[in-house]
Amino acid sequence: MTVDLERTISITVNGVPREATVPVRRLLSDALRHDLGLTGTHVGCEHGVCGSCTVLLEGSPVRSCLVLAVQADGQSVTTVEGLSRSDHQGGQVLHPIQESFRECHALQCGFCTPGFLTTIAAGLDARDPSVEITEEEVEELVGGNLCRCTGYANIKKACRHAAETMRAEAGR
């Protein structure tokens, strides 16, 4: 019996169809970073605890260090590089959570930031923006990722700020 050591996979990454031939053991995090050159996704622990490598698989947050690249075959992946949105005038604007991270000083070294941004963006996009965000929701959105710099206060603040921005947009 021969073992299939490599496979060619097709993944839609940030809206762009990509193809790569990867060893079957390659982690999705490594495939994104090293095969596809998207180094915005960071690897902090490689055992699924810190959340720095979080990407959206079919829109839902996953720890890309716990997913094999071949498992993502045929699916769509959104990384931090793909969080910006169309401004409906042909350009791109940052996701409100990205803007809020800057506005609220929610990052210092920035290494964990992509994981927070993808996780929180997915959470904010999935909720009814017209409803005021609760503290419980904020705790839930930020509660699964590690940050060693900020003490999280400003990350929570950024969550509230982004939800408020989205609420204002929804109200227009």
């Binding site: 055992h47 605890v49 969080l83 000083h105 070294c109 920035g110 060693r148």
Partner: protein
């Protein structure tokens, strides 16, 4: 002036790239690099008997295997002792790859280079190293007992005996009305930045030169180390710290073995080589800190005023002493905090253990010193029946006592002289912030809910900004762009923003025109590094001085052109103008062009400048003696001694007596770091420090077993705080300018972490009424403690006057 930026919460310029995934961290560099992986010792203390690589040789993609036998010249010698000290009588360092004996689990034995990391790890797993196990020493008490020796030729395991005293302590204690003696412990934790270490090296065979990227806090020193160890001339080595994903101390150590081995391999293989540390490697081969045993005797009078203090500390320095005895010195000298201690003696025995090396982690010995002093204050208050705040107040250095000489010698070899401060002011603000005097009501309310509530406080003084120097270079280009560089590195502190604020402010240019580069030896060759809360103080003042030099030159050149006196000129928004004479002006960028007499008209700026160029004086050289072409200036800031920041923290803990879960429900910080350049950034530093303080108090410890195996070497088991563990933090500021430096600033980076364990221990003790003598403390340990016969403790009611 629109360009006045000092003191403003300017949003960070680093963020644009970091929130879009465009940062450039170490592992983002070198997509085609070969990968290095290491075979590390699985034993804490063992003799390397044999290394058999045959199993690895057939691995497809393997490129090279290196052991100690492959190291040549200075590389085969022990790693340097960076900071020797006469009291460090038995310094020991390892080799880049283990020579005969390994001294801790995780010590590098073999380096493998392969086409990619997966393959390198495959090969590493197939290398068989046989060891002969040796007796293991773990923990400060085992080291002190010295039943076994870590290093054969250091039988008592003592690397250094550090000793300082300000008077004759024994008679002073004998003459004291009251004395208390006690012993307490602080456990190990670690910096644990989210990005581990990493090194990328590229050898240029044509230039015979090396470019190294490394996730370091000290790129200039890594450069010097590589040049020395690889026997290259300094100008053939460039070292760059790219975006660094946190440091907190661990990345100040240099050279790490990998910082030498990866460049060595790149040169030998003629190809880029990269090593990216994984998390387990970081736990078992990077540095830890904090473990100490503290024996304290204090003498005091009826009123709780300290008359003498005698402290004997055993400090676990791990297997080697590459960083000297900086932590023992810092603990010894910073222990006294904001208090006037008439007679003080401190002895720190720094001892070897078969564990990862101990080098500074944010706070660098200060949290332990603070723990010793502040717990002493609590003991005195309890024994005297005084409010804990009141005892502290009675011992504080008063405002009219500055500069205050503690008669100790600091880590920089300079005297510990507090330059400025207002410690009673800190205490008053803290008590107001945390509502100290009405705590009894809150406690009663919690008791009614079936919860135990306690409050604690701790104060500190932190020596920041030690020398010897940092430098800054500022250059105005003909485009109007202002280039700023300093050799000191950044790990997320926002230096690009803060230094741009300072230069824009000093020079009178829009901040958007300023570009800051840090930690790149191609741009600035002389630097010390980022540690000891020194970046803003040292490089901040250096770039400000460099900007002042540029301003002076710009005004001199502009004065000639505008036929005015330099004193009558001002620079605002990048325009040099005669004060009060609208239109009599020249853009700074044009002054930059004029500063260079060679002006090929490559661009519009040069063409425009010609209208200002005078006919020239044929009797003088185009560049005057002592002058130089270009609108640029380099300057250095070298302080006479460190500047001393200060602060006071209070914690309120709530304990559920059914689970003994400890919940920090309130955390208050009063903070004085002198003049604040960017309050948003300072507050962020405080937030982060407090989170690490809470982690160190309640969750983080390095769980070594008696064989020297680190049982919790993963983020699953080493419990760093998530958002759910960090309390809300309220902050009040006090700004007591430093008289020592031009900007009046003091360091802020480490402050937040220093009093955490002391304040939280005090609060837990207050809640449960049992002596807390070891930190961190878990719910299980607290449960065991309250059921034991340990000292019952009663605090006088907070706010009550004796």
């Amino acid at each position: 002036m629109t360009t006045k930026l000092f003191g403003e919460p300017v949003r960070r310029r680093e963020d644009a790239r970091l929130i879009t995934g465009q940062g450039r961290y170490l592992d983002d560099i070198g997509a085609d690099a070969y990968a290095a992986a290491f075979v590390r010792s699985p034993y804490a203390h063992a003799r390397v008997v044999d290394i058999d690589v045959t199993g690895a040789l057939d691995v497809e993609g393997l490129l090279a295997i290196y052991t100690y036998e492959d190291l040549t010249g200075p590389l085969a010698e022990p790693l340097p002792v960076l900071i020797p000290h006469p009291q460090l009588t038995h310094p020991r360092t390892g080799y880049p790859l283990a020579k005969d004996v390994v001294q801790h689990v995780g010590e590098a034995v073999v380096m493998v280079v392969a086409t990619d990391r997966y393959v390198a790890e495959d090969a590493a797993a197939l290398i068989a190293v046989s060891y002969e196990e040796l007796p293991v020493v773990v923990g400060v008490d085992a080291a002190r007992a010295a039943t076994h020796a870590v290093h054969d030729d250091v039988p008592d395991n003592v690397a250094a005996r550090h000793h300082q005293e300000t008077g004759d302590v024994e008679p002073a204690l004998a003459a004291s009305t009251h004395t208390i003696s006690f012993t307490q412990y602080v456990e190990r934790s670690a910096s644990m930045p989210m990005e581990g270490k990493g090194v990328h090296a590229r050898w240029d065979a044509d230039d015979q030169a090396l470019r190294v990227y490394t996730s370091t806090q000290a790129s200039t020193s890594v450069r010097a180390a590589i040049a020395a160890k690889l026997q290259l001339s300094l100008e053939k080595v460039e070292v760059i710290a790219p975006d660094v994903g946190g440091g907190f101390g661990v990345k100040i150590v240099h050279p790490w073995p990998e910082e030498l081995l990866v460049p060595m391999a790149a040169r030998l293989l003629g190809h880029e080589v990269k090593w990216t540390e994984d998390r387990r490697e970081h736990f078992i081969s990077s540095a830890h800190e904090r473990q100490q045993r503290q024996e304290i005797t204090v003498g005091y009078d009826e009123d709780g005023r300290i008359t003498a203090l005698d402290v004997h500390i055993w400090h676990d320095n791990g297997a080697y002493t590459p960083y000297g005895i900086i932590i023992p010195i810092v603990t010894a000298t910073q222990l006294v905090g904001p208090y006037a201690i008439p007679v003080y003696r401190v002895r720190v025995d720094s001892v070897f253990t078969n564990t990862v090396i101990v080098t500074p982690y944010r706070g660098a010995g200060r949290p332990q010193g603070c723990f010793a002093m502040e717990r002493t204050m609590d003991r005195i208050a309890q024994e005297r029946g005084l409010d804990r705040a009141e005892v502290r107040m009675r011992n504080l250095i008063q405002g009219d006592q500055f500069p205050y000489d503690q008669h100790l010698t600091f880590q920089d070899g300079r005297p510990v002289i507090y330059d400025s401060g207002d410690y009673p002011g800190l205490m008053a603000k803290l008590k107001a912030l945390v509502d100290w005097d009405s705590f009894a009501e809150r406690r009663a309310e919690a008791t009614a809910r079936g919860r135990m509530l306690g409050i604690g406080m701790a104060m500190y003084v932190e020596g920041t900004g030690p020398g010897p120097y940092e430098g800054g270079h500022v250059q105005v280009l003909g485009s109007g762009k202002v280039l700023v560089s300093t050799g000191l590195t950044s790990q997320g502190q926002g230096h690009e923003t803060v230094f741009a604020q300072l230069v824009a402010s000093e020079l009178g240019v829009p901040m958007e025109d300023v570009e800051v580069t840090t930690g790149d030896t191609r741009r600035f060759g002389y630097a010390v590094g980022t540690f000891a809360s020194r970046a803003a103080v040292m490089s901040g003042n250096a770039v400000a001085l460099a900007a002042r030099g540029v301003r002076e030159k710009a005004l001199r050149i502009a004065a000639e052109v505008l036929e005015a006196s330099p004193e009558d000129l001002e620079i605002d928004e990048g325009l040099v103008q005669v004060k009060g004479v609208p239109g009599a002006s020249i853009p700074l960028r044009t002054v930059a062009v004029l500063s260079n007499p060679l002006r090929y008209a490559f661009d519009e700026a040069a063409k425009q400048a010609t209208q200002f160029a005078g006919p020239g004086d044929d009797s003088k050289p185009p560049v005057a003696v002592g002058d130089a072409p270009g609108l640029e200036h380099t300057d250095y800031y070298s302080p006479i001694r460190s500047t001393f920041a200060s602060g006071a923290h209070a914690a309120v803990v709530e304990i559920d007596p059914s689970t003994w879960e400890i919940d920090v429900v309130q955390y208050a910080v009063v903070h004085d770091c002198g003049n604040v350049v960017n309050p948003m950034i300072v507050e962020g530093q405080v937030h982060g420090g407090v989170a690490q303080g809470v982690g160190g108090a309640l969750y983080e410890r390095m769980a070594y077993d008696s064989d020297g195996q680190l049982q919790n070497a993963s983020f699953m088991d080493f419990l760093m705080p998530y958002a759910s563990e960090v309390p809300p933090v309220v902050i009040d500021h006090q700004e007591t300018a430093s008289p020592l430096n031009p900007l009046g600033i003091k360091g802020a980076g480490e402050a937040g972490v220093i009093p955490g364990s002391a304040a939280i221990a005090s609060a837990i003790e207050d809640a449960v009424g049992r002596r807390i003598a070891t930190m961190p403390i878990s719910p299980t340990e607290l449960y065991d403690l309250v059921r034991s016969s340990a000292d019952p403790v009663t605090n006088s009611q907070t706010g009550a006057m004796a």
